[in-house]
């Protein structure tokens, strides 16, 4: 392929590609909402309080249990 054909081709890829990515994820947004709505119908969440962001600096809470959890998280998060 000449450079120009390649360029047209890649522009088309850009359009179609971003189109699919956005459509896919937009659809997923809808389906996930539907799923959550259904799931909460079927099995309401036991009230354990909202999932909250860590109350202090995420790098260093002092309590041992939290430290262990972080260690676990750190160990866990690397691929």
């Amino acid at each position: 392929m000449s450079e120009m054909t390649l360029l047209t081709e890649s522009l088309r890829l850009l359009l179609i590609g971003m189109g699919i990515v956005f459509s896919f994820l937009l659809l997923l947004v809808g389906i996930l909402r539907l799923m959550s709505w259904l799931a909460l119908r079927l099995a309401p969440v036991p009230q354990t309080g909202p999932l909250s962001p860590p109350a202090a600096d995420p790098d260093g809470p002092p309590i041992a249990a939290i430290a262990a959890a972080i260690a676990r998280y750190r160990a866990g998060r690397r691929r």
Partner: protein, 377 residues
């Protein structure tokens, strides 16, 4: 005398060419970055050492009869290693933040613009004499912008095996550089007020939602984009093992034994693609430039989409979290948290950035599926 000549000829020093020396230096450099700078050491140490071993003259460790060459054939050419890593990623990832606020998927979508823009960039480079990327090459390079190692390796092993070494090195290096690359772009594109937005706490997510989530994602993928099914399939399988609560043994195996063993093998195998022929070429320079570009564009698009959502929600969304849409889990989310804390010492964005962050993983797997479907042979 004859014997001694034969001995000399069997020595490495008599057979070493400059390319091998340089590639061994590259391997050492990668290991240096991994150890001294903590650049994604889990991958870069094995990749660097694999490059060292594969460039030893005469030994042929990376060749078809050498150990690393055989590992490459079995694990990378077949695509099995990156898929097993993806299974482990699924088993290690908590998608709760995404389930609680699905709209963050749009941030993950926007950040993939980096991929497709880089595709154009790679094709444009062909106008410069010396570059001759095919559409497959360009696609494999572009996926660096997905900021996801296994996805990049999977796609490159399918579309452009010759470029695999450079692409994997670029992908992991830039993932390690996220804390340096992203903050200036994030600051440039947002106002102080936007960066100070405090977001609403996330709602709790039930176990049923967590269990249904992998099925929903896989189903959509099966219906619309089967070429992404291996990646999405293993990701959701790993996540189901994690969330279903009845196969703790298997979940631990996916999170530890399998991913650790495969990481060692995969790293060595990728290192064997760091040969002078493939790496010490103009293309590599192009790949490195394009990779940086991809990360920058992806970050920018994520932030811009964050601004759109900021407006659309009447100011409830902090646009910084859009930067996490490139994936690079969990580095990008931490960068968002850090930049947010700079403006307001009590504004923790970490959990809010985890949504777009894991959305970015799905987004780049989808983008990889598109590239495979439309440019694969």
């Amino acid at each position: 005398m004859d014997q001694l000549l034969k001995l000399w000829q069997s020595m490495g020093i008599a057979n070493m060419d400059l390319g091998q020396v340089l590639m061994m230096a590259v391997g050492c450099g990668l290991i240096y970055l991994a150890i001294a700078k903590k650049f994604e050491p889990l991958l870069l140490v094995p990749i660097g050492f694999g490059a060292l071993l594969s460039n030893i003259p005469v030994a042929g460790i990376g060749g078809p009869d050498g150990m690393i060459g055989m590992i490459y054939t079995v694990g990378v050419e077949t695509g099995i290693f990156p898929l097993l890593i993806f299974m482990g990623v699924g088993a290690l990832t908590d998608f709760g933040a995404l389930i609680a606020r699905p709209s963050t998927l749009l941030l993950g979508a926007a950040a993939q613009f980096g991929i497709f823009a880089t595709l154009i960039g790679a094709v444009l480079l062909n106008f410069i004499p010396g570059f001759e990327f095919t559409l497959q090459d360009a696609s494999a390079i572009a996926i660096i912008g997905g900021a996801d190692g296994p996805t990049a390796i999977f796609l490159a092993s399918r579309l452009a095996p010759d470029l695999l070494g450079a692409i994997a090195v670029a992908a992991y290096s830039y993932m390690a550089l996220v804390p340096i690359i992203q903050p200036p772009i994030m600051r440039a594109l947002t106002t102080r007020e936007e960066r100070r937005v405090v977001m609403q706490q996330l709602r709790p997510v039930s176990q049923l939602e967590r269990i249904l989530f992998p099925f929903v994602v896989l189903l959509l993928c099966a219906l619309l984009l089967p070429s992404a099914a291996p990646l999405i399939g293993m990701l959701t399988f790993g996540n189901l093992l994690r969330e279903c609560g009845v196969v703790e043994r298997l979940s631990r195996a996916a999170q530890n034994e399998i991913i650790n063993i495969v990481t060692i093998m995969l790293g060595l195998a990728i290192g064997s693609k760091l040969s002078a022929d493939n790496f010490l070429a103009l293309e590599t320079l192009g790949i490195l430039v394009l990779g940086a570009l991809a990360f920058c564009i992806g970050t920018a698009c994520g932030v811009l989409m964050g601004k759109v959502m900021h407006r659309a929600t009447g100011g409830k969304v902090n646009p910084l979290i859009g930067a996490a849409g490139v994936s690079a889990v969990p580095m990008a989310a931490r960068v968002v948290n850090r930049v947010g804390l700079e403006e307001d010492h009590h504004n923790f964005l970490l959990m809010h950035a985890m949504g777009p962050n894991v959305a970015g993983v799905i987004g780049s797997a989808v983008a990889a599926g598109v590239l495979l479907a439309l440019t694969g042979t």
